[in-house]
């Protein structure tokens, strides 16, 4: 009984705030658009009964946005990654004796080999499936490529901004972890401080910095670095800047947590055994902070994928992101069913990184215990 009550609390929370809304959205995605209030049919009524209600639901909207093609693409990317990463490690151990020389020609060869192996695996799997189930191929037909492109473009923007955030965040986290003990709380505060003001206002402030007459251009013109103002605002570059700026703490904090735990004598031991400063960094510091890197990347990647505020404030007409498309479907087109279908597919796509993130956290907890 006691156990049941304990489990019931988070379960009810999940039910009320996730499962029920999800059910509602799922139902809308299976409905048809209508000029009514709310703007879709069917509505459930007790007179017609549940059977009649269910019979009116269909997958039309999913077919319209090309959900099949999107899901297949995401599965293909996941499969490629699932094959390429182990192959990379295998190639390295087998042929290069496991001696990690970061960014060398060897790692390049291993990367190429593993990517080719991944592509081969994807091609073979799809060939086999389409041979045995020819009907699957019809899934790939897409009515409107806008949504397909928006998903792919979101994946691309999320991936690139995650990489950029890592590049900016790692040195910051490293610096914090190596700073004197007395400085650390202050540095930590400085990283967290921006959270105390509204996210919307902070992103909006970047418009003032990045626009044609903005501070950045003024400073660069005054310094004579550029002859005429740069166009940054309303491009993807502005979106990358916005994402890196907004999500930087999510990258820094887990990496900092991993680096802070790192025993300095491990680095000394590596140097004592013949490592230079930089090879000790690649062979000891990076592998031991990997759980932090992975956690940080997911914490940035997952919310960025569905990001709406940053692309709509800083991005231009050329910035295609699924969050923005979703908003336009809901409020400009008033096509709630299609918007709901877009949202459901977004959620399906996000399940992959979320599961991977959970596994990383779990492994980290096990390794720590």
């Amino acid at each position: 009984m006691r156990r049941f009550v304990l489990i019931a609390v988070p379960f009810l929370w999940l039910l009320a705030l996730f499962l029920i809304p999800f059910g509602i959205v799922l139902k809308i995605s299976l409905s048809d658009v209508a000029l009514a209030r709310p703007p879709y049919v069917p509505q459930f009524s007790w007179d017609e009964g549940i059977r009649a209600f269910l019979s009116q639901l269909d997958f039309e909207n999913f077919a319209f946005i090309g959900a099949g093609a999107i899901v297949v693409t995401v599965v293909a990317i996941a499969l490629l990654a699932a094959v390429a990463f182990p192959v990379y490690g295998l190639v390295f151990r087998r042929f290069f004796g496991g001696g990690l020389k970061a960014l060398s020609i060897r790692s390049l060869i291993a990367a190429v080999v593993s990517v080719v192996a991944g592509i081969l695996a994807v091609v073979i799997v799809f060939a086999v499936i389409s041979f045995f189930f020819p009907s699957v191929v019809s899934l790939l037909e897409v009515d409107d490529y806008l949504y397909f492109q928006a998903y792919l473009s979101s994946l691309k923007i999320a991936a690139i901004s995650t990489a950029l955030t890592l590049l900016v965040g790692y040195p910051m986290a490293y610096g914090m972890a190596r700073s004197p003990n007395s400085w650390r709380p202050t540095l930590m505060m400085l990283v967290i401080l921006p959270f105390w003001t509204s996210f919307l206002i902070r992103v909006y402030a970047w418009r003032g910095i990045l626009s044609q007459e903005g501070y950045l251009n003024q400073v660069l013109l005054w310094l004579g670095v550029i002859g005429e103002p740069l166009t940054i605002l309303n491009t993807n570059t502005a979106v990358y800047i916005g994402v890196v700026y907004t999500y930087l703490p999510f990258m820094i904090l887990p990496i900092y947590a991993a680096l802070e735990k790192l025993d300095v004598s491990l680095i000394e031991a590596a140097e004592d055994l013949g490592c230079s400063r930089s090879s000790a960094f690649w062979l000891v510091t990076i592998p031991l902070s990997r759980p932090g890197i992975v956690a940080g990347c997911f914490l940035v990647f997952i919310p960025t994928l569905g990001e709406f505020v940053i692309p709509s404030l800083l991005g231009g007409s050329g910035t295609l992101m699924i969050g923005k498309v979703l908003w336009e479907e809901f409020f400009n087109n008033r096509d709630w069913p299609v918007a709901s279908a877009v949202a459901i597919i977004l959620l399906l796509i996000l399940i992959v990184p979320i599961v991977l993130f959970q596994r990383n956290q779990q492994r980290q907890a096990e390794a720590g215990g």
Partner: protein, 373 residues
């Protein structure tokens, strides 16, 4: 058959492996090492012994290359190593925390240094297997450090630091994290391995028993200076100062004034107590202040007054029973306590002396050590 004693420090022709020459190390205002000179010879098992903060770890870190001397030079095999970074020194270190790489297996930990040298794969493999055999860890080669016990981790750390066959191995409190029994076993293992590999070992420790057991010579340190450098038995039996006598083992120290009497001195140390005789080669002026150090195991305890020199009368106030030995605390009439030890060679549970017994303690004039500071 003549037995050659290993004592290169007595041979003026022997070349030391390590030479500290007037080394001073300062951290800001704090002087960790002050004008220190020391020679350590090849194949020695050298112990740096002292309380925490005496500078012994700083000495070791300077040898490893993690700290540079502020003044003076350190030579390894005749070459100044001041400018050589740690990764280029033929010196390896076993860290107090072991510093095993948690993401690598035992085998990869041991192979770590060898791989950095870019040796051929089969050579590395052979060397790693040899090291695993040396520390008897073949069965655990593919485990990660958190999957083995503390004692095994200690052996992995040792194997890893020995794998590159360094000229000099530094051990920073290598046995500090082990429990007493394991520590004693490991001490002998360490000596064995040192003998087998012929490597020069320098060990840092605050545990005097450990230093006495393993070392060929011990340097006792205090506040960044060497107090005495000698073999364990010399340090124990002929301490050069009150500090060294007190730091190593149990001792009773009496303060008094010396008067020359033939080849010995008579020490007047308290009103109403007979003067004590001690043989010494020290040159002390008559009436000069001195200390008399008496090890408890050299003190005999009697129920009747013996007809010897150095007899003091007192009362047993405390008995420490340790199984193999018993320590008696005998309080004299003036309040001074003298410790006396006797071996419990019989299994008889009844002790010869008990609390409040009137007893006499005495020792021969050779047993007490006269110290001038």
């Amino acid at each position: 058959m003549t037995q050659t004693v290993f004592a290169p420090w007595t041979d003026p022709a022997a070349k030391p492996l390590i030479r500290f020459r007037h080394v001073t190390k300062r951290f800001g205002d704090f002087t960790a090492i002050e004008d220190l000179s020391l020679d350590i010879y090849e194949r020695e098992f050298f112990a740096l012994l002292g309380p925490s903060g005496c500078g012994k770890t700083t000495m070791m870190r300077m040898l490893a290359g993690f700290e540079d001397p502020t003044e003076g030079t350190i030579e390894l095999a005749g070459e100044d190593i001041g400018a050589v970074p740690p990764n280029k020194r033929a010196v390896n270190m076993m860290f107090q925390s072991y510093a095993l790489f948690p993401h690598l297996t035992v085998r990869d930990n041991i192979a770590f240094g060898l791989k950095r040298e870019g040796k051929p794969k089969d050579e590395i493999h052979a060397r790693v297997e040899e090291m695993l055999r040396l520390v008897q860890l073949q069965k655990f080669a593919s485990r990660k450090p958190h999957q083995i016990s503390g004692g095994q981790r200690q052996r992995v750390a040792l194997a890893r630091s020995l794998a590159k066959a360094p000229k000099l191995l530094l051990l920073d409190e290598p046995l500090g994290a082990l429990d007493k029994k394991l520590r004693e076993e490991t001490q002998f293992e360490l000596m064995d391995i040192q003998e087998k590999t012929g490597t020069t070992f320098v060990i840092v420790t605050h545990d005097q028993e450990e230093a006495m057991t393993v070392a060929s010579r011990i340097a006792v340190m205090k506040d960044g200076a060497l107090m005495q450098v000698a073999t364990p038995s010399q340090i124990y039996e002929n301490p050069s100062s009150r500090y060294v006598a007190d730091f190593l083992g149990d001792v009773t120290i009496l303060e008094g004034k010396a008067t020359k009497l033939g080849d010995a001195y008579e020490v007047h140390w308290a009103e109403g107590q007979p003067p004590l005789r001690a043989k010494s080669t020290l040159a002390l002026a008559d009436g000069a202040g001195c200390h008399l150090a008496i090890r408890p195991e050299k003190v005999e305890i009697h129920g009747e007054k013996p007809a010897d020199d150095n007899v003091l009368r007192g009362k047993v106030i405390d008995i420490g029973y340790l199984g193999n030995i018993s320590t008696y605390h005998v309080q004299l009439a003036n309040g001074q306590t003298i410790r006396a030890q006797s071996f419990n060679t019989e299994r008889d549970t009844r002790r010869a002396f008990t609390w409040e017994d009137e007893v006499w303690v005495n020792w021969t004039e050779n047993c007490a050590v006269l110290l001038d500071h």
